[in-house]
């Protein structure tokens, strides 16, 4: 079947009903709200958002694991609800940060078994397994029981499981979560290489690492509270902020000074506050460079000493702060406190 888009959604919504305790009333949680996406074939598409933004829910719907509450979605031209059996042979999925797999089986047996489910002949499966394990640096663990692998190595085994079936559309849900810096870099490089080898391949990757989205994705959708707030290439998203001035100011102990003290100042669009050990970092998105004078004034009147001031190019983090009003870190720590 020829189709322009590997992934297409229209007004896709998902509502969870949560019962709080046995006798309490049922609460509804909107995980996705009218999501409209079109991902062409050959694209490496990123979903960027904090934990709980709806990224995993969207992947679950697209991989036929979860039914949407409203709207529709197609993968490789097939409806994920009505034509799930046509979608499944064409996709694969890897979720990061979990240690799934049959611990009693060796790495090779785990991977071979999944290849069988996809109808890959044994000889071909074994060839691909050896090749992919070499790529992720697991070749020497071919016959190790997966229960004997560390979490990071298990994660690598799962990444191989995703690529093993050579899917038309690959869903990677936080694939580098739980991996060390070097392994994450290797995995990112491999994902990029894999998609460039064959233009019919498509990857949808969710992440809350800005650098991952920036470095890897052709286009990024920024998602928060189930809504897609912006969708464009990383360069275009950052270009939105190039008219504004972005400053990073490192201070001594802020003496009770918080982001709120600056929000009322004229010309201040967004402020993010990152407390540190005995010092703090503030990031400002300003309408114009001149506004920084008023900020410094506010700091000095509060007795806060400036340690460093720098103007920098906008990042996806700035785009996120501009769109949402808070940094991803702030949202996640606020959610943790509420929980």
């Amino acid at each position: 079947m020829s189709q322009q888009f590997s992934i297409e959604t229209q007004d896709l919504g998902r509502v969870y009903k949560i019962r709080e305790g046995k006798k309490k009333s049922v609460k509804t949680l909107v995980a996705l709200h009218d999501v409209n996406l079109q991902v062409p074939r050959g694209e490496l598409f990123g979903l960027l958002g904090p934990n709980g933004a709806g990224k995993t829910t969207l992947i679950k719907i697209l991989t036929t694991l979860l039914a949407p509450s409203s709207g529709w979605a197609r993968v490789s031209g097939y409806d994920v609800v009505r034509e799930a059996a046509q979608v499944r042979p064409r996709i694969n999925m890897v979720s990061g940060g979990e240690s799934s797999g049959y611990g009693l089986l060796t790495v090779r047996e785990n991977l071979w078994m999944f290849a069988q489910f996809y109808g890959i002949p044994s000889a071909e499966a074994n060839r691909r397994i050896r090749e992919l394990l070499q790529v992720v640096g697991l070749a020497d663990r071919l016959n190790t029981k997966s229960s004997d692998l560390s979490t990071g190595l298990r994660q690598k085994m799962n990444i191989v499981r995703g690529f093993l079936t050579d899917p038309q559309v690959l869903f990677l849900d936080e694939p580098t979560l739980g991996l060390d810096v070097g392994a994450s870099r290797d995995v990112r490089a491999f994902i990029r290489r894999w998609i460039e080898q064959e233009r019919a391949r498509t990857v949808l990757l969710t992440t809350h690492y800005m650098i991952e989205a920036d470095e890897l994705c052709d286009r990024v959708a920024i998602i928060n509270q189930g809504r897609v707030l912006a969708c464009d290439s990383p360069a275009n998203l950052k270009r939105r902020l190039q008219r504004e001035a972005i400053f990073q100011i490192e201070t001594s102990s802020p003496n009770g000074l918080s982001a709120r003290d600056f929000e009322a100042l004229p010309g201040v669009r967004q402020v993010a506050h990152h407390p540190g050990d005995g010092k703090a970092t503030f990031e400002f998105i300003l309408d114009a460079e001149e506004v920084v004078g008023a900020i410094i004034n506010t700091m000095t009147t509060k007795g806060v000493r400036l340690l460093n001031l720098s103007k920098r190019e906008p990042t996806l983090e700035d785009v996120f702060v501009d769109l949402v009003g808070r940094s991803m870190e702030e949202i996640e720590s606020a959610d943790k406190e509420m929980a």
């Binding site: 499944r88 979720s95 049959y102």
Partner: protein
């Protein structure tokens, strides 16, 4: 895609799912310990449970092992091993994959035929169950003089009835697997509870006449009742017919009832499983881990 190639794809997916799941089930079932311990466990477990029953029987009947009730109980108990093994084996695969190995979502989203996959996972339990049944019956013949008349044994009927019964148990297991998809707990007790309850209502260890009249219809509705009766009759002939409950029915009638109820349970299992699967997908339960 034309209908011929769609059917061929489905067939190959069904066979692939079954074969691979059976292989996986056997790896899990046989590799949890070393082969010696596995063999010891497989022999001792069924014998120990049979011996408990024999001792209880001996105490209650003051050692009347010549009564037709003894082979009735002994064989009923031996074949009942299949009920727990096959039925619970299939439904437990849901809990095992979702909670323990966290692989259910990858298997569900792969091009597997999901009900067939679950049935395949039950094959290993069927094989270990068969081993237990054989050990129990052989020990019964050798040491307890269970009166099996090999010359009078109806082997073809025994084999066919056994296989239909296993199919029926697999369908009941699938039905329970569907229910298990909707219970988001580390809760394997669904299968065990049902197997335990059926132990009382299927004539496994006592004839249905012993039950209060209002509970008997439950036993008559269960295909396991007719299956066990048929297996007993093919092995011990007339002794099994010494109890009035099903004595009025011929082997052919019992077989027809078993076949009919198996067909009914197959249809019921297909409908209930599909409904539960859709509900679990709607409610987001297919990959929800309770961590209990």
């Amino acid at each position: 895609m034309n209908s011929k190639s769609a059917i061929s794809n489905l067939n190959s997916s069904v066979w692939r799912s079954f074969r691979t799941a059976a292989w996986l089930g056997w790896q899990i079932e046989s590799n949890w310990t070393d082969p010696f311990l596995f063999a010891v466990y497989s022999i001792i477990k069924p014998l120990a449970s049979a011996m408990i029953l024999v001792v209880m029987y001996g105490v209650i009947t003051h050692g009347d092992f010549a009564s037709p009730l003894f082979p009735y109980i002994y064989l009923g108990n031996a074949f009942y091993i299949y009920v727990g093994a096959v039925m619970t084996g299939i439904s437990w695969a849901v809990v095992d994959d979702r909670e323990h190995y966290k692989t259910l979502k990858y298997i569900y989203t792969a091009p597997t035929h999901f009900p067939t996959y679950l049935c395949g996972r039950g094959v290993a339990r069927f094989l270990t169950g068969t081993f237990s049944v054989v050990i129990t019956i052989v020990c019964g013949i050798l040491f307890l003089h269970v009166p099996i008349d090999f010359a009078a044994m109806d082997v073809p009927l025994f084999v066919v009835a056994l296989l239909i019964g296993v199919l029926m148990l697999a369908m009941m297991g699938l039905l329970l697997a569907g229910v298990t998809l909707l219970t988001v707990h580390h809760y394997g007790a669904v299968g065990e509870a049902v197997a335990g309850a059926l132990y009382l209502f299927s004539g496994a260890i006592f004839p249905l006449d012993v039950l209060p009249a209002f509970l008997r219809p439950l036993g008559f509705l269960m295909p396991i009742t007719y299956w066990l009766e048929l297996l007993r009759r093919t092995l011990v002939g007339s002794v099994a017919q010494a109890f009035p409950t099903l004595a009025g029915l011929s082997n052919a009638q019992l077989f027809a009832i078993l076949l009919g109820l198996t067909a009914l349970f197959t249809a019921l299992a297909a409908i209930v499983f599909r409904w539960c699967e859709l509900r679990a997908r709607e409610r987001g339960l297919l990959d929800r881990v309770s961590n209990y």
